[in-house]
């Protein structure tokens, strides 16, 4: 049983309420901070913890906080990014639904550290029932003196507001989120200036993911150094993984990043193996935008070393033979699944979600979707596969924001590792309409676990 820092109390009866959360030790972190620490000391503690952004990019959170500008007389803001929209990712929803006070506590501590007196939770619009849960928790915290004016007699004031988005994946990108929070289309901004200098309403702003901000609570409670001892290398602390696809036990799991990918998939504590007794074909380990890995590169790196569920190990081998931790959206494909079909649905997703500002992304995502659809319909040509490769290369790195990269990487990895499957669609236009690509030749390359 791995260490649990975030979800330890998730199944306590009534933990959504202030009373129970408090009884279980909640808001101790806020008390500690307001009574014994300065804002800079809180930032230092988060730096020491080695906490990396849990939204996908993995940028050190403490370092991000330290960049915030502090011009005299200009308000600063913290914005919680709850626009969870990366296919495969549903961990923040779980946190907000089940442990709203953990997030609120994290927000209070983080707001104090950053000097934000008005903090905003930007939540994806489709999670329409969750704002009520959060607003109830906010009201409870306020009624108990943990929010509002002069919190715990510290002289620090804080209000937290919840804002619903309206259906746009791009608003998970921090500058698009800021634009949306200002009541505009979610078009990413050119950086620099970075939000820490000029963010929402041109004020210094930090945007952090839900899980990142919730993790601040155990960091303060146990100390940054202790937190950093959990995990391995630069993958400190715990990480929430949302596991889905063809597994026996889809759900949200907290791991300490020392577990192997194989154990994560097959142990009963986590995914419980592949559903319906089937074999494993592939996995997208960090949300839809990270490279898909075939089974033979999933449990072992190209160097033959065990692959673990952490930032470094998952990316071992770069994009040639590795992938990324990303958001922790763990999508498992069994032997019956078509990588081409899966890639098509993701290409369609990125085409739909492209904001349209940059030509390579706006046009390229549409072309990729059309080419993949043509292949699936049995009307593709071998040259389409090369064209797909060419298009994704021309998108990657040529856009204002990372959505272009996110759209390119799944296509690139699918072709890199499963080119034979793409070719099969071209060479078997009739058969491909009634069944997915056969997998016989994969069976020899991997250990089939009973």
């Amino acid at each position: 049983m791995g260490v649990k820092l975030l979800l330890e109390k998730a199944h306590v009866e009534g933990i959504r309420t202030f009373e129970v959360y408090r009884r279980e030790g909640g808001y101790r972190g806020v008390e500690k901070v307001f009574k014994t620490m300065s804002p800079d000391a809180v930032v230092e503690e988060v730096k020491k913890s080695g906490l990396r952004g849990r939204g996908g990019a993995g940028f050190p959170a403490g370092m991000k906080w330290s960049f915030i500008a502090k011009p005299e007389g200009v308000p600063r803001h913290l914005v919680c990014n709850a626009d969870e929209s990366e296919p495969g990712t549903f961990k923040d929803r779980y946190l907000m639904e089940n442990l709203p006070h953990l997030l609120i506590e994290g927000l209070i501590i983080s707001s104090f550290a950053l000097g934000s007196n008005a903090t905003y939770i930007y939540i994806r619009g489709e999670y329409a029932w969750i704002p009520d849960i959060l607003e109830h928790a906010i009201a409870e915290a306020k009624a108990n003196g943990f929010l509002g004016k002069n919190i715990l007699g510290s002289g620090f004031d804080l209000e937290i507001y919840v804002q619903r988005g309206a259906g746009a994946y791009i608003c998970g990108e921090e500058t698009a989120l800021i634009e949306s929070l200002e009541g505009k289309r979610g078009n990413p901004r050119i950086k620099p200036p970075f939000p820490a200098i000029k963010g929402v309403w041109e004020r210094p702003t930090v945007v952090n993911n839900v899980e990142t901000l919730a993790a601040v609570v155990p960091i303060i409670n146990m100390g940054g150094d202790e937190y950093a001892k959990i995990g391995v290398g630069k993958s400190t602390g715990t990480k929430l993984i949302s596991a889905c696809g063809n597994i026996n036990k889809p759900g949200v799991y907290e791991i300490d990043m020392t577990i192997s990918v194989e154990d994560f998939i097959y142990s009963d504590e986590y995914c419980g193996g592949i559903a319906n007794g089937k074999r494993l074909k592939a996995c997208i380990p960090g949300g839809s935008s990270v490279p898909i890995l075939p089974a033979n590169l999933l449990f072992k790196t190209a160097k033959g070393e065990t692959r673990y569920m952490n930032y470094e190990s998952l990316s071992d081998g770069g994009f040639a033979t590795g992938s990324m931790m990303g958001s922790g959206g763990f999508i498992v494909l069994d032997e019956d699944q078509s990588v081409v079909r899966n890639t098509y649905t993701l290409a369609r997703f990125y085409r739909h979600e492209s904001c349209g500002q940059c030509s390579p992304c706006r046009e390229g995502t549409g072309w990729m979707e059309k080419l993949l659809k043509r292949l699936l319909e049995g009307k593709g040509k071998i040259s389409d596969i090369d064209l797909l490769w060419d298009i994704q290369r021309k998108i990657e790195g040529n856009t204002i924001c990372p959505l272009g990269d996110a759209a390119a990487w799944p296509v690139a990895a699918a072709i890199r590792h499963f080119r034979d499957e793409f070719e099969w669609y071209v060479n078997n236009p009739v058969e491909s309409q009634t069944r997915n690509y056969g997998l016989a030749h994969y069976a020899d390359e991997r250990e089939v676990i009973a």
């Binding site: 296919p87 029932w129 259906g167 746009a168 889905c244 759900g251 999508i331 993701l346």
Partner: protein, 166 residues
């Protein structure tokens, strides 16, 4: 005459007050949600113009936002909108079959509304419920782990509710 009730206007003022003075445009997304919920489930041009008036911004600023976000309906929709997720993880768990079944049951394709105005089917991209696939959004809530039987029950439930409310 498109106007929010007094109760709704209190809510409008409360929303606007969340933002710094002079930055009331930030209230646009929440107000569009409120307007859509209040005025028949979609955003007609006069509704958008009214929101622009409330926020003291140009109507074009509202149109450009309303056309950007997928949750704002720019034409009338059925009383019950089945928004079925069709992205990767849901597809892996049979979302295509669910869409096909709803199409068969209701005689509508994605983007269409039944003749009685009761149901609209819309295929949507990832709703963040990948572990509970296949799924759909119905109103403010998610319906997850869908099967044909569950779809039947949901359709029945909607029909019963509609009959009760008429």
């Amino acid at each position: 005459m498109i106007r929010f009730s007094e109760d709704k206007m209190v809510k409008v003022q409360e929303i606007i007050a969340r933002y710094p003075e002079g930055k009331q445009k930030s209230a646009l997304l929440p107000l569009l949600h409120l307007a859509q919920d209040t005025f028949g489930g979609w955003l007609d041009v006069p509704v958008m113009d009214y929101v622009a008036e409330l926020l003291q911004i140009d109507p074009i600023e509202v149109y450009e936002v309303a056309t950007f976000y997928s949750m704002y309906n720019l034409k009338p929709v059925g009383k019950y909108m089945f928004e079925v997720c069709q992205t990767g993880p849901c597809m892996l768990n049979g979302a295509d079959n669910i869409v096909a079944y709803i199409t068969e049951k209701l005689g509508i394709k994605s983007g269409e509304t039944t003749a009685d105005g009761l149901f609209t089917l819309k295929t949507v991209e990832c709703l963040g419920a990948c572990g509970y696939a296949p799924m759909m959004q119905l109103g403010k809530h998610y319906r997850e782990h869908l099967t044909k039987e569950k779809v039947d029950a949901i359709i029945e439930e909607c029909r019963n509710n509609a009959a009760k409310n008429n």
